[in-house]
Amino acid sequence: MKRLIPLAVLAVLLVARALRHLCRGERPTKAPRGPSAARRFVETHLGDVGLVAAREFRERTRGRIYRVGTLVILAAVAAAVIIPALNKSSSAPARAGVGVIGTLDAPLRSAITAAAREVPLTAHVVAEPSLATAEAALRAGTLDAMIVDGRRIVVQQGISATDSSDDAQLAHALATTLSTRATLNAAQLSPAQLARLTHPVRIPVTGLEAAARPAEVHATTIIGLILLFVLLSQYSAWILIGVAEEKSSRVVEVLLATVRAIHLLTGKVLGIGAAALAQATVVVGFALVLAKIFGSDILKGAAPLDLVSSLAWLVLGYAFYCWVYAAAGSLTERQSQLQSMSFPLALPMLFGYIVSITTASSGNASTFFKVLAYLPPTAPFAMPVLVGLGQATWWGFLLAVALSLAATVGVAQVAAGIYRRAILRTGQRVRIREVLRADH
């Protein structure tokens, strides 16, 4: 799990870097081919909204940032899926060589093996003919420890009190085991008593609450969370930049002379949303294929449910945030104002993400976190984590969806009003208070 934390931080850095590039503008790579059947369908059946959406989709998906960004995300997903899978397949305990000078009977071999397993190491126990050969093997590294006549343990380098290396742990475990054996032998117990002492019945441990889910499920949740944050931040930025670009280039006046403001805005949101969904589908599909090939645990247990939940919240999160960013874009005058404008907007997203990733890592959802899972700005991050932890009920999930949809409708109405009033005001950055006060 700790391995995923750097990935989470990397996600934040990637988003910040991508935003900087986006704010500087991008260049399309090449002219497109003819219209696709899907584009023709959208343009024919959705009128102005369809035309605007088709243009947004086309311009967005043929941009270099979209293509390079998709490749970067795919590479990050590949790393997140493949590396844990490879680690898992090579996670058998390391081998430790233990030489014995003196009698090596079956009980001693068994005790050494058991002690090494606690580290955990797989002991390779060999009888050494002399102290000299054993010391030579120890220096050569073929042995990690040697036991001299059952009374002394020798390692190559002395062990300090704070040494927690495998060799140190092996030496301590062997010392404890051999001391116990010597004490028991000295007590002259019967074989039955000896067996009871060396194989005690373990006392059961029970918890007041259910045990945490297996770590593999947490990994799925965290990977989903990171993707959610990266993709949502990216898609919201596209909306912000798209609206600001139309305003700063003044093309919006030409557009609004023939298209209604709400149609222009809706087309933009749908077009960019479609480009976003296409990218998310490619990323998730790629992750699933890799997981299947490498036998990753991200698809086991309740992980598919986590995945579906994350995808649903990606769509809901985009639907909520896109309107906020569109309204903000209409308030800017120049592209250079975008970074300062986007920072306060990103705060609720960043807050939801950080709290969610911390909770997913710890495996414990506080009451505060459960409340966040129902608040529309933070629900896209918090609710998938609650699902991943198995702490979301179906009705709670549906309630969060309903709250998010209701808030989206409200936010869309306010944002459309701000957009309509601010988009043609040029000359300087428009203050939101002026727009809300304006009668037209």
Partner: protein, 298 residues
Amino acid sequence: MSAQLEVRGLTRRYGDLTALDDLTFEVPSGQVVGFLGPNGAGKTTTMRVIFGLVEADRGEVLWNGAAIGQRERRRFGYMPEERGLYPNMLVREQVEYLGRLHGMDSQAAAAASGRWLERLGIADRATSRVDALSHGNQQRVQLAAALVHEPELIVLDEPLAGLDPTGIDAIGGVLSEQARAGSGVLFSSHQLDQVEDLCESVIIIDHGRLVASGGVDELETGGGNRLVVRVEGDREARWARQLPGVTVSEVAGGAARLVLAEGADSQQVLHAAERAGAVTEFRFERRRLSEVFREALA
């Protein structure tokens, strides 16, 4: 009656500022109409009201006698003062896209786009990004975008600003051609010489109010009679200064420009000139549009 735009009683206030004050005028089809006025007179606001970008407090805009809606506006072409194009988009795609937004199907938009780029001399830049073009060529793309759907009314805010003489001729030629084909053309400009050459009629507004309108010929021949008189030996035109009903508006190169008040007799002026010396030049002169403009705003 031919199709025409009617602006009736438009009033628009921004706080204490009155941008439009009961403004009324018409733009007939088949004519190029110049829309003149000093900076801040309300020309851009009027155009924005026509396209529904600004709501008027009072008044209405009619097309063929009926109120204008989104459907009618699709048949209009608009070129705003601050040029607006997607900088990253390719030229041909941009013009096609705006044609589609005006209701053309994709084949018709593609064909018209190609035709207009050819007509405006930028066909070789069809696959260039807009921001890679010079100012003049961007202006031509903007005009192509306004004309691609063969609009019935074309409204252009300062379409000649910043153009070299070749660009002015090209765009002026296209506007005249569109008017001959039956479209109404309304355009604003500060370059009165060009307006004089291009327009059949002009509308002059100031402080949001109509101050003069009519055919260019009518306005130039209106007002008092104008005479240019040259008298040998009197380069200062002292002979004319005491004549009743005659104002000396200018003396240049020995010739005097005289404005005759209503009822003043040009023959009496000729006799007075002959009494002063040998008359080597005596002719009537039309008002120039710049004079009409200044007098209207005075």
